[in-house]
Amino acid sequence: MAEPARALASGHVPGLPGLGAWTVHTDVFDGPLDLLLHLVKRDGIDLKHLPIARVCDAYLDFLERLRQVDLNVASEYLVMAATLCHLKSLDLLPRKPTAIAETEEEEEDPRERFARRLEEYDLLRRRAEALDRQPMIGRDTFVRAQGLPNAAEVLDPTVDAFGLLEIYHAILIRADEPDAVVRFGESGPDFATCARFVLDALGGPGGTEELGMILGRWQRRIERVLTFLAVLEMARLGWIGLDQRAHLGPVTVVAKVASDVDLSQLTTWVEKRDAPPPEDDA
């Protein structure tokens, strides 16, 4: 983008003759003040004693050259041109009668105001350059990266609730059986079977599989719901890790235990939940 723009600005466009109307957005100058500052610096003009007429001519000359190569000039550049012409006219016209001048004495000369504005912008530019010379993280200096978690580490914090909710909707709700049939008296697989199914799919410590893939292998919703719950419960117990690299991205399940792990801990939880509360708790 920058190269063709520069080629156009220079008026030489090899191999592209007579293409008619160009619409080129030039990033070379960052606004009219930037262009003005460039011209002032180029001509070695002292900002403290700004010759308005000379600056105005240089500016209009530059805009004219941009026009000749058919560069679209943004409106703010034209506003600046008008401002400069107005300021130049103040230089050429005689001073106003003293009676009026007295009342206007408190008001700042627009030429001084303009010169100060340019100085202010110049100061900002130099400050920006000074800031750019500071050693910057990611460019000049680096800090210790938080190492990529390996499969054995706890990965749970890297998955967000929205990621799980997304999967819940995509796999469990929306992608339900095409012919939704209400079934009575039919119980789904038990919790342990679903947990074992997940662990088998992972195939031992370090094994990974995408959560959506695991759930997708079940035909029925109840099976997927139970498997989803089993995944959450096993993550809570630290048997598996959940990893999500991008917000709303796919969630990967990582096994941390062997696939033939004793599931009694898991099923106890389910039984405990279903059983009436123990009496000593009451």
Partner: protein, 191 residues
Amino acid sequence: MSDTIAPDLEEVPQWVAPTGDDLVGAIEAMLFASGDPLPLSTLVDALAGPSEEDVRAALERLRSACRVPGRGLRLEEVATGWQLRTDVRFAPAVLRLRGERPTRLSRSALEVLALVAYEQPVTRTQIEEVRGVRSGPVLKGLLDRGLVRVCGRREEPGRPLEYGTTDLFLETFGLPGLRALPALAERDELD
């Protein structure tokens, strides 16, 4: 597992606070393990023994030890504490390792950032007046990157938002505080 950087020292009765060379080494180890900037107070608390002056002196020793030729790390004091950072000279090596291109801010982003940093709090209108161009998208980009934050509303018609820089800004540019912003030599910096 504890969320704090300092271990639960009461459960480690055999802890003997390091002194001398060991204090410098311990601090280096802690800084490396942390990665993030560590405030002096955090170091003092975790070491449980050496005074604040001792720790500060050890930090200064570590800082000069890092300046020895042949070392790739520097110890810097930034807004939020002390941090080990790679030497500027070896940035290309780190970038090659990571296979990354250096993070760069565009010239307009630098201008807006400089204005906010030096003149804060500022409003968007102020920024646009000085720069002479619309600056909303650039400002939003800086907000998204966490370098600039909304720090209030100005009591004037419209109650416009006021912007200032964040700790992340100071960290990113290796500054201990806003006073450490590079000063310009010219006289007009004064007014």
